[in-house]
């Protein structure tokens, strides 16, 4: 066996092993503890699980490429809220009054453009000023959230369009609309990172920026494109979710950045950049959602979820480091 192969295999499979453990645990524990008659592994329950994973999951795909590239984005929650407001509010603007249901694609495009623009602004600042992405997006997280509040105070922004709700609640081939969006985004980002020049360069930049520059890769544009992608995905996540719910509070999306980063880290992506896998992030998203649903299923208080996820994150970090040390030692021999 090649050195490091065992630890690599363990790392790649870890998240799926964890999901399997969760499923077994909650199925067995559910038999004794659950008040519900239904089994945990019920088909409807699992379909719902995918649907509920979508808002966090879609953003997590963007966060994975940002982190592979060696950056981080803390402003996704605020971008999500702004785009939700643009989506719902633009449908009531007088200039679109004559469009009828054609206002829906217009509102979608506006919301997605808003997301891309906000992401591009982040990316441009990171590129041109050289300020660390953590600080830039920490600032814009406050700033964008300020814009959300300035728009409508503390009032919720609401607009229900029944055509849109029907579309969002529809099921195609048994899967909900939101699930389809999650799957398509996952496939598209996987293709981007594994089959395109941009993806390969993003890995290279995150792994060793100096070397990437020396190899003639232009670091700035790649970073900016990645920030635009995560802005787009935050907007898409808002579009998918709020098409159905129809009402956005100015606080919505708060702490989303933490859930998203947790999912990505659970999936094994390194904060230092250069390593990470889209498929594993998909696993991380599912693992978190399974945990939330599972704990609710066995009757644990909702607050326990925060405690458990926080501790799991730390344990994963610890195990990951142990495996990495092992990998390095094997290489020496």
């Amino acid at each position: 066996m090649k050195p490091g192969m065992l630890s690599n295999f363990l790392k790649r499979g870890a998240i799926w092993g964890f999901i399997a453990l969760e499923l077994i645990f909650f199925t067995v524990a559910g038999e004794y503890l659950s008040l519900s008659e239904k089994a945990f592994m019920d088909v409807d329950n699992m379909l719902l699980l995918f649907k509920q994973s979508a808002p966090i999951g879609i953003i997590a795909m963007g966060m994975t490429i940002i982190m592979i590239n060696g950056n981080i984005d803390l402003s996704v929650g605020a971008i999500y809220a702004i785009c939700a407001i643009v989506l719902l509010d633009s449908m009531t603007w007088p200039i679109f009054a004559g469009l009828g249901d054609m206002v829906i694609p217009v509102a979608w495009v506006l919301a997605l453009l808003a997301g891309v623009a906000l992401g591009a602004l982040n990316g441009l600042i990171v590129w041109k000023t050289g300020v660390d992405a953590f600080i830039v997006t920490l600032g814009s997280m406050l700033g964008y959230r300020g814009l959300v509040f300035m728009y409508n105070g503390e009032q919720p922004t609401s607009h229900l369009n029944w055509t849109l709700v029907d579309f969002a609640e529809a099921q195609f081939l048994g899967l909900h609309t939101a699930t389809w969006f999650l799957l398509i985004v996952t496939a598209a980002i996987w293709f981007l990172m594994n089959r395109t020049v941009h993806g390969r360069n993003a890995y290279a930049i995150g792994d060793n920026r100096e070397a990437a520059v020396n190899a003639g890769i232009r670091v700035g544009p790649h970073m900016m494109i990645n920030f635009m992608i995560i802005g787009f995905l935050a907007a898409l996540s808002a579009v998918v979710f709020y098409s159905e719910s129809g009402s956005v509070n100015p606080n919505d999306g708060e702490l989303y950045e933490l859930w998203v980063i947790t999912a990505v880290v659970l999936g094994g992506t390194k904060l230092t950049g250069g390593a990470g896998s889209i498929i594993s992030t998909f696993g991380g998203v599912l693992a978190i959602q399974l945990l939330r649903k599972g704990l609710a299923h066995i009757g644990a208080d909702t607050e326990t979820v925060n405690l458990v996820i926080g501790l799991i994150l730390i344990v994963v970090l610890f195990l990951d480091r142990q495996l990495n040390i092992k990998g390095k030692e094997e290489l020496k021999v």
């Binding site: 000023t129 964008y144 300020g146 300035m150 933490l258 980063i261 994150l313 730390i314 970090l317």
Partner: protein, 324 residues
């Protein structure tokens, strides 16, 4: 008189930019509204900044040592809830030390993970943010916590009382800032904090026990958080479970505004205090000028990025980044 070159002016602006910006803001707000420089108003601003400020003092240590602490917000909620709960159960005189002990345990746990196990501080404190929030909710059962007898307790002294004509929160903030400022700049421990943050490997080779220094920094941070929780609890005598939510990022903003580098090794307590005051006075000034409360977030965003940008631009001698 020697001619002052453009570079010197630029260099001065970049180095002392944060103080210049502070002065410009103060003058501007004063011109816009006379009430801004009213002593009552100034004391009021400092008093309401004290809670954020006390937390920022501790986080300054953590940041200088090259780490991050994102858990201070939820840890502050925890200490506020705990001290309010214990106040009615065992009395304020025992509740305060008990709360400090529990908060310090959390700080020690984080310090152990980051210092001794050398785990990434961003993720550890992110996890602890979530975990401590869950702990707080489990402790309180999700209920708001209130002191039963709000009139007959001396517990409100820390948040609402005043000594020598100065509000107690300000006294505590100034005292803590003075003590921690001396610890950071005048003691061997302070030098070690800078050494560990500046170059951890070099510090280890010169015989500094990195793990112990980092551990102590998180203990100091937890102590400051417990103090902030005490001030918060004593000021309101009742609290929600989410009282500190989001504060971790405002605290970090104040520390960064003060010029501490997230890479570690730079920053001072004095500059952090300036950063806290800038945030406080901008918030107050914008309100007095008649703008919405939320405008401060947007202004803070612009100021943070400008401050950090100018700082690193001065270090590299060029305004725009060399990123191709």
């Amino acid at each position: 008189m020697a001619a002052v070159t453009k570079e010197q002016v630029g260099g001065f602006l970049a180095r002392q930019g944060i103080l210049v910006a502070f002065a410009v803001f103060m003058v501007g707000f004063t011109l816009a509204n006379q009430r801004f420089v009213d002593p009552d108003n100034i004391l009021g601003v400092i008093r309401s900044s004290a809670i954020l400020g006390v937390m920022a003092l501790g986080v300054t240590f953590v940041v200088i040592s090259g780490n991050l602490d994102l858990s201070v917000g939820s840890m502050m909620s925890f200490s506020t809830i705990v001290v309010l709960d214990l106040h009615d159960k065992i009395g304020p005189a025992l509740a305060i030390p008990a709360m400090f002990a529990m908060t310090l345990c959390l700080g020690a746990f984080i310090g152990f993970l980051v210092g001794y196990l050398k785990l990434n501080s961003l993720i550890v404190t992110l996890g602890m943010l979530s975990a401590i929030h869950g702990l707080t909710l489990t402790y309180s059962g999700g209920q708001n916590m209130d002191i039963a007898d709000k009139e007959g307790t001396w517990f409100d002294f820390f948040g609402q009382g005043s000594a020598l004509g100065i509000p107690v929160p300000i006294l505590i903030f100034v005292l803590l800032a003075a003590v921690l400022g001396v610890v950071l700049s005048k003691t061997p421990f302070g030098r070690k904090v800078y050494a560990v943050g500046g170059n951890g490997t070099a510090a280890t080779f010169s015989g500094i026990r990195r793990a112990r220094v980092v551990f102590t920094c998180y203990l100091i941070s937890a102590f400051c958080v417990a103090t902030a929780g005490l001030l918060q609890a004593s000021r309101s005598l009742g609290s929600q479970n989410t009282v500190g939510q989001g504060l971790e990022l405002e605290v970090l903003a104040a520390v960064i505004l003060g010029g501490a580098s997230l890479l570690g090794g730079s920053g001072t307590i004095f500059k952090t205090v300036i950063g806290v005051l800038i945030l406080g006075f901008i918030q107050n000034g914008l309100l007095l000028v008649g703008l919405q409360f939320y405008v401060q977030y947007v202004v803070t965003w612009i100021i943070i990025i400008l401050a950090v940008w100018l700082d690193i631009a001065a270090k590299r001698g060029k305004l725009w980044s060399p990123i191709a």
